[in-house]
């Protein structure tokens, strides 16, 4: 595995035209350069997502241009836009239907926290209440460059995932769940309002 070959020896071999790699590096290299997003837009952020995929910003440079219309073929879910409480169960179900390894980018203020609709009655206050989010992009809406940056951050994260050992990636761990409970419509709100296994908001310390 990675780390067994000395870095100096590796670069020395590389100069001679011999490329030394490990299964983990090869695996992550392949995965990070062919992230297929789910073709799934919710609101105005989706327009920026479309612009990112189109010719000017060209998501294809990062291997992510293949937007899949089916969750079965997607690696990445870009939650682009306002998540209403009506839509939240569908998003969780779509996430559940994606095969492992799967990643989530929470794009825009609404998907992160509810954004300008946070005080409203019908908008979910952040998709991270139900599914684990890998990268957050602030902005209303974020520019395509911001989405590209998030994409690169995700690639960096994938690159650092371990195949074996104690700190291996969660999708390789038999005990880690792949599906998360789908919220149901209650009398006033979604039931439950958040999944405590997933939603761990930062505690604000006031002095």
């Amino acid at each position: 595995m990675s780390g067994q070959v000395d870095e100096g020896l590796r670069s020395e071999l590389q100069k001679q035209g011999i490329w030394v790699t490990s299964t983990q590096e090869l695996y992550n290299w392949g995965r990070r350069n062919s992230i297929w997003p789910l073709q799934f837009g919710l609101a105005c952020c989706a327009i920026e997502m479309i612009a990112t995929a189109a010719s000017r910003y060209d998501l294809a440079r990062f291997g992510g241009e293949v937007f899949r219309p089916s969750p079965r073929q997607a690696d990445l879910m870009i939650v682009a836009g306002t998540v209403t409480k009506k839509m939240a169960p569908q998003i969780v179900r779509l996430y559940n239907q994606m095969p492992d390894p799967k990643y989530v980018i929470s794009m825009g203020a609404c998907a992160i926290s509810g954004g300008p609709f946070k005080q409203g009655y019908n908008v979910l206050k952040g998709i991270d209440r139900y599914i684990p989010v890998d990268v957050y992009i602030p902005g209303c809406p974020p520019r395509p460059e911001a989405l590209l940056h998030a994409f690169m951050e995700l690639q960096r994260k994938i690159d650092g995932q371990k195949l074996t050992g104690e700190k291996k990636a969660p999708f390789l761990d038999r005990k880690q769940p792949s599906e998360f409970p789908v919220p149901a419509f209650g009398a006033h709100d979604l039931e439950p309002p958040a999944n405590p296994d997933v939603f761990r908001p930062p505690v604000v310390e006031r002095t």
Binding site: S70, R93, L94, D100, L172, P177, S178
Partner: protein, 121 residues
């Protein structure tokens, strides 16, 4: 010595079997050693668009549009068949003539039916 010309087909068949089996075997090994399968009710669901399916897949549809189908056959499909019939009319044997008359009779029957239903009013 030249090999048998059909020997290449044997090679081709061998490659055709091995080529798809290799990634399948690789995926099987990967599942065994690295990534445990995690099936679930949503992942195994037939419908895949986020919305839960309701009812049964076998539903009955009302055939209310059969009259449109009859009219289409009479005025559209029939015309296409009538043109070659008219062109080759003088050289047709008796059997072909009777066959096309049967065909016309069936469609005229449909016309009478559609007329009596009030489709042409």
């Amino acid at each position: 010595m030249t090999p048998d010309p059909y020997f290449f087909i044997v090679i081709f068949c061998g490659v055709a079997v091995v080529f798809p089996l290799m990634p399948l075997a690789l995926a099987w090994l990967w599942r065994k050693f690295f990534q445990p399968p995690k099936p679930g009710p949503a992942k195994n669901a037939t419908y895949e668009c986020g919305v839960e399916s309701i009812g049964e897949a076998r539903g009955q549809f009302q055939s209310q549009y059969y009259l449109y189908c009859i009219i289409f056959l009479i005025f559209d499909v029939e015309a296409i068949f009538l043109v070659p019939f008219a062109v080759a009319f003088t050289g047709l044997p008796l059997g072909a003539f009777i066959a096309i008359l049967v065909f016309l009779l069936l469609l005229i029957e449909g016309l009478v039916w559609a007329w009596s239903k009030g489709c042409l009013d």
